[in-house]
Assembly symmetry: C2
Homo-oligomer: 258 residues x 2
DNA sequence: GCGCGGTTTCCATTCAGCGGAAGCGAGCGT
DNA sequence: ACGCTCGCTTCCGCTGAATGGAAACCGCGC
């Protein structure tokens, strides 16, 4: 009967519901959600009811909850900022190279894939739009890391460096050298470090005031590793066209939450 | 000093903040938001603080709020259900026709564009991914309407039928006839009804149990209107391949909120 | 029909959230 | 330099909105 046993704010409870969808499947029942969030059943029920009424959550025909289309539509604007700008150039990149092309930004300790155009060749899919991969295991990630503030880069290298494949570079000292070299030469390459059978190359995309805000890259079958650098001029060209397009925005328009 | 003057629940207040972003620009200041939501400044400030800390909102370097990438990432799963399934087929459709290709579902009284591949030709953009257009002004919308439950279709025709261009069909009786014909022949055509200079054609995509859940369509320059029907076989082929891919999901997986 | 897992509704209790007011601080005009 | 304005941030005593235990409800299988 007490009013809010836990001390958590209402807002944080609502958000913890959304959080549950991030980590545990796209479709959850009331009791699962109550379990996952630690909320009493009736409280969870009421909050879910409000979220559902508003359209933030939808219910399938078994009564389970899913993230709703209204929330999707709303948050398109966030992805859209970069995406809408970059999309045409990304498509150019694809038509020039015929290889899987993508653009990513840094979000926390991971590379967040903002958009991608798939090649018809069946390159192993390491990630998807809106998905994330560790910064040290992909070409775009390495680029983002290489141009990041030194304090961040160093802190990152201190942390756990997950090995995605047997080829992932996980030695902090070696990685530090590699990143330095990347910053110098202006591009990064990975060979089966995120996914067996795939290699990739990426270059930075700077916003106004030289701050690197994103990275564009290509993914190829690892059998074609030797052709990677051939795409560099095209990649650079596309990157600088994206930069020109971004330049119209206020600085920091893409970059969010340190 | 009173506790919650308005009678609105905390959750609804939080959601009203998100609502403000739907209708008024992608970037809003504290005082704008307080104004728009009708919340006292200090209350808005606290709620925004929580949303920001969680990552639902981001702040640009002028301190204004924007919808954050965490929310975007989270809600990708909603769009992803249909999008990830349909994407490859949509890309096939594009490479077969070289025309702007899109897929949409019904959300409320509007067609919600779930995904699109742009032609390089500069077809007037009537909408964007995650955007909406009235059901009666586009080919995909007409298809969705034509296969909708009769009670819904009739209610829709009673309502205000906005004229997007001088060519938009807004006579309820004529539209009813047109929809009947569309359901019969299995495709819809619009000629500059949503946007001057563009014409479009669309066919239904049925989920399990014949329920029409989405529509795929092409947009062409209106100068090419005579070639529209030539694309019908390709369009139908792609639609049925999407149907096959959808068939694995539980029924109602895409359809949400009546 | 009866028990079981899950969902929905009810309502007296109480502390989390409220919001008025005061404190900052950056920009601007004089 | 100085005061003024405008918008953001922090503080804190009061109170009704949110809480959660319990009980009703609803299918479903045995």
């Amino acid at each position: 009967m007490r009013a809010n046993e836990t001390g958590r704010t209402v807002t944080s409870r609502v958000l913890s519901i959304l959080e549950a969808f991030e980590t545990h499947g796209p479709s959850l029942s009331l009791s699962q959600l109550a379990e996952l969030t630690g909320l009493p059943l009736s409280t969870a029920h009421r909050l879910l009811g409000e979220l559902h009424a508003w359209g933030a959550l939808a219910r399938d025909d078994q009564g389970r909850y899913q993230v709703g289309l209204r929330l999707w539509e709303l948050s398109q604007s966030a992805g859209r900022r970069l995406r809408d700008t970059a999309r045409p150039y990304l498509q150019d990149l694809f038509s020039l190279t015929q290889e899987t092309s993508h653009i990513a930004i840094r979000e926390g300790n991971e590379a967040l894939y903002v958009d991608r155009v798939y090649s018809s060749k069946r390159v192993p899919r390491a990630s998807r739009i809106g998905g994330r991969l560790p910064l040290h295991a992909t070409a775009v990630g390495k680029v983002l890391l290489a141009y990041e503030e030194p304090w961040f880069r160093e802190a990152y290298l201190q942390g756990d460096l997950e090995a995605r494949t047997t080829r992932t570079h996980i030695d902090p000292a070696a990685l530090a050298d590699e990143l330095e070299q990347i910053a110098e030469q202006g591009h990064a390459i990975t060979l089966e470090e995120a996914r067996a059978g795939a290699c990739s190359i990426a270059v930075p995309v700077a916003g106004r005031s030289d701050q690197v805000e994103a990275a564009v890259g290509l993914v190829l079958l690892s059998t074609q590793r030797k052709t990677l650098t051939r795409h560099l001029p095209v990649l650079r060209g596309v990157a600088s066209r994206i930069e020109a397009a971004i330049a119209r925005y206020p600085s920091g328009y893409l970059r969010q939450r340190g």
